[in-house]
Symmetry: C2
Subunit: 193 residues, 2 copies
Amino acid sequence: MRTTDLRIIKTKQALHDALLTLLSQKPLEQISIAEICREAKVNRGTFYLHYEQKEGLFEEYFQEIMEDLYQSYEEPYRAVTTLDTNQLDPNTIRIFHHIERFKMFYRIVFSKNVPLTYYYMLFDGIYSLLKRDITSHHVHQMEDHISIDYYSAYQANAIIGLIIQWYRGDFSDSVTMLNQQLAAILKNVRSGG
Amino acid sequence: MRTTDLRIIKTKQALHDALLTLLSQKPLEQISIAEICREAKVNRGTFYLHYEQKEGLFEEYFQEIMEDLYQSYEEPYRAVTTLDTNQLDPNTIRIFHHIERFKMFYRIVFSKNVPLTYYYMLFDGIYSLLKRDITSHHVHQMEDHISIDYYSAYQANAIIGLIIQWYRGDFSDSVTMLNQQLAAILKNVRSGG
DNA sequence: TTACTTATTGAACATCTGTTCATTAAAATC
DNA sequence: GATTTTAATGAACAGATGTTCAATAAGTAA
């Protein structure tokens, strides 16, 4: 099962394409493994050679999306002009652009019947980005008995809380609005709300 | 389908009991609907008359757990003695006792392969408790352009972030530790960490 | 008790799941 | 190009899913 084998690459590509095609027609939970295999013209047994569930296949896409999240986070911050009130955590704030860009994807990730796995993938992504920053920039200012792991989990999931709220309003609020909300919350809480 | 019909009550009770029995033997994802029905001595078609998935059955238990959460939140705060550094949000802090009490349950709720539904049930529970408090106590001190909905979602999910971290360490940290972490984080962030 | 209402049953159906295995064929390696 | 390695196939399996339907029995109401 070396991943460089051309047969494996072809099979996976066919399954990827089939999943994308089907996802444009119906939600993930209504797509069966058998259906994906029919569409991909791949034997069903072959599917189980590479994945355990259709979710595993979906996860491979998610990895690519997470790559974009990391890059969004790294890239220099530009749209500061709209936010006059603060310059806090511009890094954090870029996350909403990423979500917006892949909102079709995140509509799946946040839907009720999907397994928690995807949630954790997003959580882990944001968590590790924040943890890196917290470790390097904030640790010297922090209460010394705060666990960095708990603190990072707290902050990462708080942001996802905003995203959940955003998702539940079908992403109808603008990215700017989300940025402002986060900025205002951080500012408010610091000044002792 | 009136819920007072004795036949319905008996059927649901049998399914509940069967689920509990099976949950003591294996995780939810390994339990099939057919298995539950065999154990409950209820026709499989009858199951579908009341629920769509086994998750729906599990949800009914969750409602009871949520009742306990609400009561935990309401009940007078007692264990303040361990927390000398602050008196902030004692209400919030009582949540960890509740999680601890039902940790067997929450091990299921936070496991990877379970649908997001349960997460949302917990989220909605904490969200509505916080929102009520935020609306009644904090609104006059808050930045006026902060949406209470976003703010509540932020705070509620932040707390769940701590719980996720706790869960991932198999709940080995003490409730006191969690209380201290939350208190320290809130204190830290307020003083401008 | 009787008559009415409706939840439950069992059977059947097409489809899906997860797994196994010998066979085939496509790659990698020499 | 020949040989070796191994991925993919097709067929078959027991069991699960989700749905339908007429028959039954358990409940409600008079």
